[in-house]
């Protein structure tokens, strides 16, 4: 039963994303839509039909993907103006961090501290998305999309090891969407810069939910989110035959370290003292 659930949450989103990206001729809009659709399909297969304003945090990943898709569309419209593109990024990052933090803002931090937490979280979304964007733009399509796939899969795998299969499966759906784009890129490479706009919010949200709502330790979260940042280091490598593989190798190393750290059992807590 669990295996079939996993297959549904990965296979169906993958097939949907593949069809959308293929029919849409892998335009920026088609790829953004493909990832959004994969996330929605993954979410639908795990937590049921999407709702307009759901209560539980696990039902908001589809909305976050939609926000990312809208940001991708807006940035392609405002492509000529760097300032407007940045404005879109900032608004999208603030929106994503607010959606993830909203259910616990009041009772965990209160106001106005909560707003500062949202702003701080938004900065990490921008950094994560920016790193992914740089890898996608400054490497070959195959390398860039592979790093994106590794980053998303790392987020899903670490949250699975940290106690939330629901969030992990929805993240797996999004990863399947990237996987479909990756397969297409293998056959006929084409740049997919818009991928970062949709994937970064979803991938970041998966890890953030794992840390804030499940039992993912903060250092695992930081390591998991560092995958595209560390991959960026490969951009500074000297131009040799191996240069293309370095970002992928670095991202894979971070992925392995994150999952390894996530599955390491925590230290045993001491029992509380007994009293009458």
């Amino acid at each position: 039963m669990l295996i079939s659930t996993l297959l549904y949450s990965v296979l169906i989103p993958g097939v949907i994303a593949f069809a959308i990206a293929l029919v849409g001729r892998r335009t920026e809009l088609a790829i953004a839509t493909a990832i959004f659709a994969a996330t929605i399909a993954g979410s639908w297969s795990v937590v049921g039909r999407p709702e307009l304003v759901p209560d539980d945090i696990s039902r908001w990943l589809g909305h976050i993907a939609l926000l990312g898709a809208i940001a991708a569309l807006a940035s392609s419209v405002f492509r000529a103006s760097e300032r407007r593109v940045w404005a879109v990024r900032v608004i999208a990052a603030l929106g994503v961090s607010y959606l993830v933090l909203r259910p616990i803002l009041a009772h965990r931090w209160g106001m106005p501290t909560g707003l500062l937490v949202v702003a701080g979280a938004a900065v990490t979304v921008i950094v994560y998305g920016g790193a992914l964007d740089q890898v996608l733009r400054r490497t070959s399509p195959r390398v860039g999309i592979t790093v994106a796939l590794v980053s998303m899969a790392t987020s899903a795998a670490t949250v699975a090891a940290s106690g939330s299969l629901t969030i992990a499966q929805i993240g797996g759906g999004a990863a399947a969407g990237v996987g479909a784009v990756w397969v297409l890129a293998l056959v006929r490479p084409a740049a997919a810069p818009s991928l970062a706009y949709v994937l970064a919010p979803v991938s970041w949200a998966v890890v953030a939910i794992g840390m804030l709502y499940a039992s993912m330790p903060w250092h695992v979260a930081v390591l998991a989110l560092s995958a595209p940042l560390v991959a960026c280091l490969g951009l500074f490598a000297p131009r040799t035959g191996l240069r293309a593989a370095i970002p992928v190798g670095l991202a894979l190393a971070i992925a392995g370290a994150s999952v390894r750290l996530a599955i390491t059992p925590p230290p045993v807590e001491e029992e509380a003292e007994y009293g009458y």
């Binding site: 039963m1 669990l2 795990v46 937590v47 049921g48 209560d55 539980d56 945090i57 696990s58 259910p103 616990i104 009772h107 965990r108 940290s162 106690g163 939330s164 299969l165 629901t166 969030i167 939910i209 804030l212 709502y213 499940a214 039992s215 059992p265 925590p266 009293g275 009458y276």
Partner: protein
């Protein structure tokens, strides 16, 4: 020979001590608590029932001796048991049962099933989502006396979803605390069957059953 001499001296010393005790010294005998039989359905014969005069009052729940326990099916083949270790609240027993009330607050993050990994999973958004829903509550809306027990209808809120439920709180026992002079204790136990999906916990229903049997065991100390 030496051993028997020591025994004789010890016996004489003890006898002397008992004679020295003043006649008006307070009794140190541990009082026996009143108890109910636990074999019946809850309204059967009680050896001693808590009369209104002796038990009327407001009680604070003793978190160390109160718990909410649950059992749930695993893959439809066996039962897994667990409990919430942090339970707080209070209840009032009034001479008029209709005026009695109970309010219990459960900390879902105190869930304990003797498996740290499973406890962490239960706290995650897959089940209780304790970060988003940091407390569960039971608040009475109607109470009727049934013999020594109480038929309680109330609002049970778990995972942010509130539902009206009914249970019989069976009287377990009452009496003075043997170690805290002047403190009056009373205990009840109630059982309740719920469906977790009705409270929005819809994930992994095949692995962990939908039907959950709750046992609410409370001990209160009179304020």
């Amino acid at each position: 020979m030496i051993k028997s001499s020591y025994s004789l001296v010890l016996a004489l010393a003890l006898a002397a001590c008992s004679k020295d005790q003043p006649k008006d010294a307070p009794k140190t005998e541990t009082p026996k608590p009143q108890t109910a039989d636990t074999t019946g359905s809850g309204s059967g014969d009680k050896t001693v029932a808590p009369g209104p005069k002796s038990t009327v009052g407001t009680y604070e729940l003793d978190p160390s001796h109160s718990s909410v326990n649950f059992k749930i099916k695993h893959f439809d083949v066996s039962y897994t048991f667990g409990r919430f270790n942090k339970v707080t609240g209070s209840f009032t027993i009034d001479a008029d049962p209709a005026k009695s009330k109970i309010a219990i607050e459960i900390d879902p993050s105190s869930v304990y099933t003797a498996d740290k990994k499973r406890d962490d999973h239960l706290k995650s958004p897959d089940f209780f989502n304790v970060a988003q829903y940091p407390k569960a509550t039971f608040t009475s809306t109607e109470i009727k006396a049934v013999g020594a027990d109480y038929q309680v209808t109330g609002d049970l809120e778990i995972h942010g979803t509130k539902k009206s439920v009914s249970t019989t709180f069976q009287f377990v026992g009452s009496g003075p605390h043997p170690m805290v002079p002047g403190q009056q204790l009373i205990g009840f136990i109630g059982e309740l069957a719920i469906k977790r999906t009705e409270f929005g916990m819809t994930n992994m229903v095949g692995a962990a059953g939908d039907d959950v049997q709750l046992t609410i065991s409370i001990e209160g100390a009179k304020k």
